[in-house]
């Protein structure tokens, strides 16, 4: 029982990282029907920014987190502007392949500029463990969980309550009709990339604190897992992505807990295959017919 509770806590911490990442995938997909495979690398950029600014300027956690979110938001908007916007009217497969290209560019660009070696993320928050009823939770786990939940609530407020959120939801349904009521789709798409990338940047700093190590390829596997989380939740659905993220986190720690650590990645991919067979629209996805 204790072990199960312990694993749930570990799973939720890891899951909130996946959830933050999955939100970016699902928002971008919702709005321009692109699987942004470079999203995991934006998370890596966030972690590297956190590493840089903490080591260089000795800032605290909040400053590192917020500045990483701002930097990755701009990185995301820049990627959209340079790589995807010129392909807006091209077939979707063209943009998809470009996304893979951007991903390789960021991974190898960072390796080239700063070296491919793994480095220790500065521990800007001293780790403490709290134990109650035999269950241990670290302050870093709490920090991850609380930060992720605050960011998700903010995201929900932005989407539901602001004018940009209304515009995002309108563009997601019908870009042309939205333009014809005075919404500039370019602004909305750019904003969506910024928002999703800021969440990825936050996830990058959080994972740096949690796992203590970062490297230029760190975005690959979590990126794919977060993509699976978005698909499980129903790609295009914002609450779905959050739920999918937590589920994947729980699944991964669960598989580790029963002694199958070597298969934790495989388990996630098995879930992807099963979901695609049984419930292709995901848990909260709408089974929308393709527009002809």
């Amino acid at each position: 029982m204790h072990t199960a509770m312990q694993q749930i806590i570990n799973g939720l911490s890891l899951g909130s990282i996946y959830a933050l990442l999955a939100l970016g995938y699902t928002m971008v997909y919702g709005i321009i029907k692109l699987i942004n495979f470079a999203h995991g690398d934006v998370y890596m950029l966030g972690a590297f920014w956190g590493y840089f600014i903490i080591n260089k300027y000795h800032v605290d956690f909040i400053v590192a987190l917020l500045s990483a979110m701002i930097v990755t938001a701009f990185a995301g908007m820049l990627i959209e502007y340079l790589a995807y916007r010129p392909l807006r009217n091209s077939p979707r497969i063209t943009a998809l392949i470009t996304a893979i290209g951007v991903s390789y560019f960021l991974e190898n660009g960072m390796s080239y500029l700063f070296g491919a070696n793994t480095r220790n993320f500065p521990q800007v928050v001293q780790q403490h463990n709290y134990t109650a009823f035999g269950i241990s939770i670290s302050n870093i786990q709490l920090l991850i969980l609380v930060t992720a939940i605050i960011l998700m609530v903010l995201l929900q407020l932005i989407i539901q309550k602001t004018k940009m959120g209304t515009a995002m939801r309108a563009v997601a349904v019908d870009q042309e009709a939205a333009a014809l009521v005075g919404i500039n789709p370019d602004h909305v798409i750019s904003f969506t990339f910024g928002l999703g990338s800021a969440l990825a940047g936050a996830a990058g700093v959080l994972i740096g604190l949690y796992y203590n190590s970062i490297d230029p390829l760190m975005g690959m596997t979590p990126g794919i897992k977060a993509f699976v989380a978005a698909v499980v939740g129903g790609i295009g659905s914002v609450p779905g992505a959050a739920i999918g993220g937590f589920l994947i986190g729980l699944l991964e720690t669960g598989v580790q807990a029963i002694g199958l650590s070597a298969y934790k990645d495989a388990a996630v991919y098995v879930v992807l295959i099963l979901i695609l067979i049984v419930l292709p629209a995901g848990l909260l996805g709408k089974n929308v017919k393709e527009k002809v």
């Binding site: 602001t162 939801r169 309108a170 349904v173 014809l180 009521v181 005075g182």
Partner: protein, 257 residues
């Protein structure tokens, strides 16, 4: 005095096909003008050219004294041109209110921080937008369905919501693309009354594409007739009904042995 909408020598060419050829027309402020013609005459293509969706190949369009050349659809919308579509294109997963509010985003400024933190300026802005929404809903008899997801509404009501959304963008001129398509006689009668009110109560200039001739003859002050991309006639409903070229276009030319 110049016209509200001035279209001069507009052509739209797709590959070798001239969908719209050398069309010149004008719409005065406050007018209710209809554009008719057989299927495939280029009516919707002309609408698309005028709203920046698919810009004209040649010719100039001036709205309110400003050229619309190279204006993107959202810029055209901000200048005060709204439209509805032949096949309804609402934001289906959103409620009626949200559909209208999506059309209002260019009508007010928003300070992001105050929206997130729900500061007083945000509450004030929210009250303003809700006020606009309530007013349009009430005027178009949609108050009862304000919170309904538009996909769940009956067809006739969806058409009405689409018109309401166009009104919500605060236009001077509204293009209606076959608003009566698929409507039963009762709904068409309601629609006729509604279009009249757009002109009288909302002070809008209306340009209408429609196949329902009773509706057109009933409503329009002036009619343009398009056939094979060219304007073949212009006049009052009475003039158009007696125009030989129009009768030929609709009923086919006389067969001569």
């Amino acid at each position: 005095m110049s016209s509200l909408l001035q279209v001069e020598h507009v052509s739209k060419i797709f590959g070798g096909l001239k969908a719209v050829e050398d069309v010149s027309l004008h719409v005065e402020e406050g007018e209710l003008v209809a554009l008719i013609g057989p299927n495939g005459a280029g009516k919707t293509t002309l609408f698309n050219a005028l709203t920046g969706v698919s810009p004209a190949t040649e010719g100039t369009v001036t709205f309110n004294g400003v050229s619309l050349d190279k204006k993107k659809p959202y810029q055209v919308a901000k200048m005060g041109i709204a439209r509805t579509f032949q096949n309804i294109r609402l934001f289906h997963q959103l409620s009626v209110r949200e559909n209208l509010q999506a059309a209002m985003t260019h009508r007010y400024k928003e300070d992001f921080v105050s929206s997130i933190l729900r500061l007083p300026t945000f509450t004030k802005k929210e009250a303003l937008v809700n006020g606009w929404t309530d007013e349009i809903l009430a005027k178009l008899d949609l108050s009862a369905v304000g919170d309904t997801i538009t996909a769940n509404l009956p067809y006739g009501t969806q058409r009405r919501v689409e018109i309401a959304r166009a009104v919500a963008s605060d236009p001077k001129l509204i293009f209606l693309d076959e608003p009566a398509a698929g409507m039963n006689p009762e709904e068409t009668a309601d629609l006729t009354a509604l279009i009249r009110r757009l002109q009288s109560e909302f002070g809008l200039t209306v340009v209408l594409i429609e196949h329902d001739m009773s509706l057109v003859m009933n409503l329009a002050e002036r009619i343009y007739v398009l056939e094979h991309g060219k304007l073949i006639a212009e006049g009052t409903p009475a003039e158009i009904q007696n125009n030989d070229a129009v009768i030929t276009a609709y009923l086919g030319g006389g067969v001569h042995a």
